[in-house]
């Protein structure tokens, strides 16, 4: 088919950018969709020709990703988030307003083709909740009124200004904060190379390349006690040391920027305001494991962030921090940023690699682990944005100094995103091990309107919830684990006393059922079943036996699914059933004691 010069150039570049051509498939579909509004039959044929793929290979890949579509949507696609953080702040009210105002439902388009509406899962704007995306633009801190104004503007041909940066990332620093990797946030042009270099950037890279060996880099990272910031908290230095040194295969560094754990939006500001710090961290990681190629896999929704990072990569190439013979040291490292297309599961490391290879994001059987058999079957390390962004600081100040910023075995600082019922929602960098209660009440300003705390999701919706009396604990991996939950991804969601926990359980399960990849039976069927029960229950049609059954089904998923997504769905559910069983019993009387039920019955 005839392509525009821009798209054609984009395709040519993508096709030749990857070691294996098929990897270009998902980005190519995304860019094609940007231009045509959807992926047409002719486009599929075109992609098949260009990538040597048959129809079904393309169709099945496309069908997996929720952002990709085979039919056109409206010119402005309004994607309203109703996931936990947004729900607590009125996401459903915005969605209801949108339905009424546009007179369309979920995944429908107005007759004039101007608007379409979609209820979406967490878009990474939790500290600016409730939020939505208009195409790729973020609109945060929404109200029904603000939504109306946006529609009016668009109707009048005025483009509303998107958020300048992630809401909640910039705020007056609290004295207890210890900004390290977020210290350049808010500086003018902090995403530019010259500002980064002026602020001491790329010194760690020079040090790593000129004064250190790969072994000593890994040693330093081990000393730092840096643990993975994506959620699982695996020691980073140890992960790097698993890469077989004598393997003749290529080795890869992947940055997992598929931030999609509900309640989490820390990687977004890290990339939008300090992309060079991430790039520097990746080159150092590449040096440590003898890799010459890195990939940043960024979630599809973060397109503007992708553009910022892509520009930074170009700057880094021009200045010799990327490419051949970096800073005259003889070390080569190439870096490519790759867009996802809407799939929470692709945040799981092996599913991410499948996706990066241009396939459906199904997780892989482990062992072998990625350090041995990863991307394209080659040794690969994969780390979260925050983890890799911490690497330059570790190399610069030394592992020990970095470790001392936190508690033993939990080195360094941590970015926490706090959202929900809290006076100062935002992203804060604090030492690992800060007291959770202190953080909530002192740093984040406590609960609005003098209400009492009911529950906290400590690190993204996959974590068991903590009740108000369980949060007087240090926020490090081990202490939170001891309290029966996880530090997770640092996405903390706060619920006040008026929150309906049945609704919370329902919304959490709605997410996991939507995001289950469908590979294994217990997750695929379990999440879908639990979603249906919880919806019915919250709508007032619960039965007494359902209460035990919900917990029982969740327990039957736990530990038996292929990948951790099943556990992630089961754990919060089990904790809610255990700690707020009384609320379920109250629902048996036919109504939700909290206001959300009135909005719920009949409307969703």
């Amino acid at each position: 088919m005839e392509l525009s010069p821009k798209l054609s150039a984009r395709f040519e570049k993508l096709q030749s950018s990857y070691p294996v051509k098929r990897s270009a498939l998902i980005p190519m579909m995304m860019y094609a969709q940007d231009e045509y509004g959807y992926v047409s039959d002719e486009m599929i044929a075109e992609l098949g020709r260009r990538l040597d793929l048959n129809n079904v290979q393309i169709e099945e890949t496309l069908a997996y990703y929720s952002m990709l579509r085979r039919k056109p949507m409206g010119r402005y696609h309004m994607q309203v988030c109703t996931n936990v953080a947004c729900m607590l702040k009125g996401g459903y009210e915005v969605l209801d307003r949108a339905k009424k105002r546009l007179e369309i439902g979920h995944k429908e388009t107005t007759q004039d083709g101007m608007f379409s509406l979609e209820e979406v899962e967490c878009i990474g704007a939790c500290t600016g909740a409730p939020a939505m995306q208009v195409n790729y633009d973020f609109c945060e801190n929404l109200t029904a009124l603000k939504f109306d104004r946006i529609i009016e503007d668009l109707d009048a041909g005025r483009q509303p200004a998107p958020e300048p940066v992630t809401s909640g990332a910039l705020h007056d620093r609290h004295w207890a904060e210890t900004p390290l990797i977020s210290r350049r946030w808010g500086m003018k042009d902090s995403h530019k190379l010259d500002v980064y270099v002026m602020q001491g950037g790329y010194q760690a890279l020079e040090k790593a390349l000129k004064e250190m060996t790969p072994e000593s880099i890994i040693e330093e990272v081990k000393k730092s006690n840096l643990r993975g910031r994506g959620g699982a908290g695996f020691p980073t230095g140890m992960k790097w040391s698993f890469v077989p040194k004598d393997s003749p295969k290529a080795k890869y560094v992947i940055c997992n920027a598929d931030e999609s754990e509900p309640g989490t939006c820390k990687d977004r500001p890290l990339m939008e305001m300090d992309p060079h710090q991430l790039i520097e961290g990746m080159v150092i990681a590449g040096r440590a494991i003898h890799s010459h190629q890195g990939f940043i896999y960024i979630r599809g929704e973060y397109r503007y962030v992708l553009d910022i990072v892509d520009a930074a990569i170009a700057e880094a190439y021009a200045a010799g921090y990327l490419g051949k013979n970096i800073r005259g040291t003889g070390f080569d490292f190439d870096l490519l940023i790759h867009t996802g297309a809407g799939a929470y599961e692709c945040g799981e490391e092996s599913a991410l690699m499948e996706s990066l290879e241009g396939k459906r994001g199904y997780p892989r059987i482990k062992p072998p682990f990625p350090a041995v058999v990863g991307l394209y079957g080659c040794p690969t390390i994969i780390n979260n944005v925050e983890t890799l962004s911490a690497v330059p600081s570790i190399i610069r100040e030394g592992g020990e100094a970095y470790a001392n910023r936190g508690t033993p075995k939990n080195g360094g600082t941590r970015l926490l995103c706090i959202s929900g019922h809290v006076n100062k929602p935002g992203i804060y960098e604090v030492p690992l091990g800060m007291n959770m209660k202190k953080f909530l009440y002192e740093v984040a300003g406590g609960i609005p309107d003098g209400k009492k705390l009911k529950a906290v999701i400590p690190g993204g919706s996959s974590c068991p919830l903590l009740a108000a009396d369980e949060i007087d604990i240090p926020m490090d991996y081990d202490s939170v684990a001891k309290a029966g939950s996880m530090l997770g991804s640092g996405g903390m969601v706060v619920m006040d006393e008026d929150t309906c926990m049945v609704d919370m359980a329902r919304r959490i399960m709605h997410f996991y059922a939507h995001e289950s990849c469908g590979w294994c039976i217990p997750c695929r069927e379990g999440t879908a079943w639990l979603r249906k029960i919880l919806e019915r229950f919250h709508a007032g049609l619960g039965r007494e036996e359902d209460i035990d059954m919900i917990g029982d089904l969740a327990k039957n998923m736990l530990g038996r699914t292929f990948c951790p997504l099943g556990d992630a769905a089961a754990m919060p559910t089990i904790s809610i059933m255990k700690k707020w069983r009384g609320e379920f019993e109250e629902h048996l009387k036919g109504r939700c004691p909290y206001k959300s039920a009135e909005a719920l019955v009949g409307s969703r």
Binding site: N55, R360, S516, K532, R560
Partner: protein
Amino acid sequence: MPDQKIIKMKIDGREVQVPQGTLVIEATRRLGTEVPSFCYYPGLSLQAACRMCLVEVEKAPKLQTACTLIATEGMIVRTDTEQVRQARKYMLEFLLTNHPLDCPVCDKGGECELQDMVFRYGADSSRFVEEKIHRPEEKWSELVYYDAPRCILCFRCVRVCDEGMDVKALGVGMRGANSVIIPNREDHLECEECGMCIDICPVGALTSGTYRYKTRPWEMQYVSTVCAHCSNGCKTTLSVRNHEILRANNRDLSGINQDFLCVKGRFGFDFTSHPERLRQPLLRKGEKLFPVSWDEVAQAAAKKFKAAYDAGGKDAIGFIGSNRTSNEENYLLQLLARATFGTNNIDHHRSADYTGLITALGERAADSLLTMEQLYQSKAVLLIGNDPTNQNPLVAWQIRSGIRHFGTKLFLINANEIKLKRKAQQFVKIATGQEAAILKWLAHEEGQLDPVLVEQLVQLKAGLETASDIAVVFGAEVSGAAIAALVAFGSKLPGKARYMALGDYANSRGAADMGLLPDRFPGYEYVEDGGAREAFERLWGAVLPSKPGMSAPQMVGAAQAGKLKALYVVGANPLAHFGTLGFGRGKLELLIVHEMFLTETAKVADIVFPAASAYEKDGTVTNTSGEIQLLRKGAEVMGPRSDLDLLRILSHQLEKLGLGKAFHDKTPAAVFEEIRKAVPAYNVPIAGLLTGGAEATRVQIARNSHAPYDVPAGLIRSANDTLFTSGTLGRFCTMMESLPEAET
């Protein structure tokens, strides 16, 4: 695999020794312990998706999937604990949430793996009270239907289509609980229609267009026999009800093909009940063929035959046999020609030069003929000519499986870019008809070839030289002296070369083995060889002719020229293939034909006997790699008789007229006993055959003083059938005619 380390482990308290690298699920099967699974399927990639095979492993904190866990020394596994039983029960409960519970009306009922598992491991009640996800059933092709709600997403179909068939026609659509299997053309399939996806489906999600909703599995009998179509000899199990074939598959995984069958083996059986099937003997009276009684036709045949013999002598009579009749029938036919009529005018439509291969190998043949299993296990495969994907589907399957499981290297020499090229290490494209010249160069570096081609051949040679054993497979393009060159090349390779010639039809090989050849007795002994002749004269009690007879094309030419007076044709259509086409029977005075349908040859015959198909008779057939298997009678069709019966009837009538001796062996088994005496290579262990297996014949002949073997151009000719054609049988297969893919 050689020299594998053996490890010891314990399963449910019982010690078991398995080779290193064995999966725990396979280890449990060795002990006869069932660890249930849906997605695990031997030979296909691992998935660990269904979670049915979760077992307890000592020191592991969580249950482990036995299908991905590799057994290690000292491992202690428990498959029957409360925790494991509970996990299975709830896994099935999850699975049934969106699965329709309408087993009584499901086509799979009675042979459904999900039904069996729930019966064995499931709960007796369901807690699911929500609405199930429903989708309408889809028709993907004449043969394949998909019912999404029944699909348990084990992805066996997707894998067998991709990994097994290299067709890649199936994929997965949507996500999560909404996941479905999707066909390659949006709402329909365009593929090889092999039906492997239907066969491998554990539930009623994929059903067969030819079988669905016709019957219940327990209402049928199951008859394992050999596919009637190509020369590969796949075992196919006929599902028969009231003597009618309703389905064919090989779900018991027996035979050389395991569960593999192509479209013909799985769906190509409806010729048995085709409306144009001949059901009565026909006798020409003037311009027309009239149905007559068996008595009348048998006497007429013998009388006319005797008259023709009396008038023209033995040289004026010819016999053309079939490449789809059984060994026993072929043996009797050549006996009729040689012993009764004293002529070597006997041949068949030759589609591969088996004679050339056996002759070129000489004494080495016994250990140099390649079996289907050896093909699968070979380190390297050299394929010259042919298009196995279309013409020899099992050969293609074996090659693909070998590449997948053992990393076999495939080298191709072909004038066409055949589909197997996708899997080849090296593809050497040559000009049509250039095979002989290429082989001559490879064997002796003789002849003028394009330098680019020479470079490729040097590379090919180097590639083959690194393999410890090489499967050499060739089509009809390679015959006569070219085979000698090929064997000369093969014997120079450092590795062990074994050979397979690819013929067209179910008993092409058996026809040659049984001496349906003008110059060879059964077992390829030369008719001029006095010693061999004497031995057969003793066995048959007759004086045998020593002069080689006419080949099939020569016989048709002679008939048309008036030199041949009578032609006896069994299961062949020579007038459509040989001689001057359109010239018909020429000046033949008598033409007798055994046939299932009124072919071009049968139409102009004087007498047509209605013949039984391979699915309607017992006996043996030999596949292209020389492996014998039993044919078992599955269907019963009113009217036709087996060719064995027809030949016996004729022999008795001839004896009455004073010509030859009647055949007294009443059953195929009795004839086979005689074959075992006549052809030493066929003296194979019977037990293997009776249990449904294949036994390799090791035909070999002694070298002698004969002139170098070669054949005239055009004598060996493949019909180049596709997946959707099959000579005469294919023309009368309603199912295959109905497929759009068949037109291309």
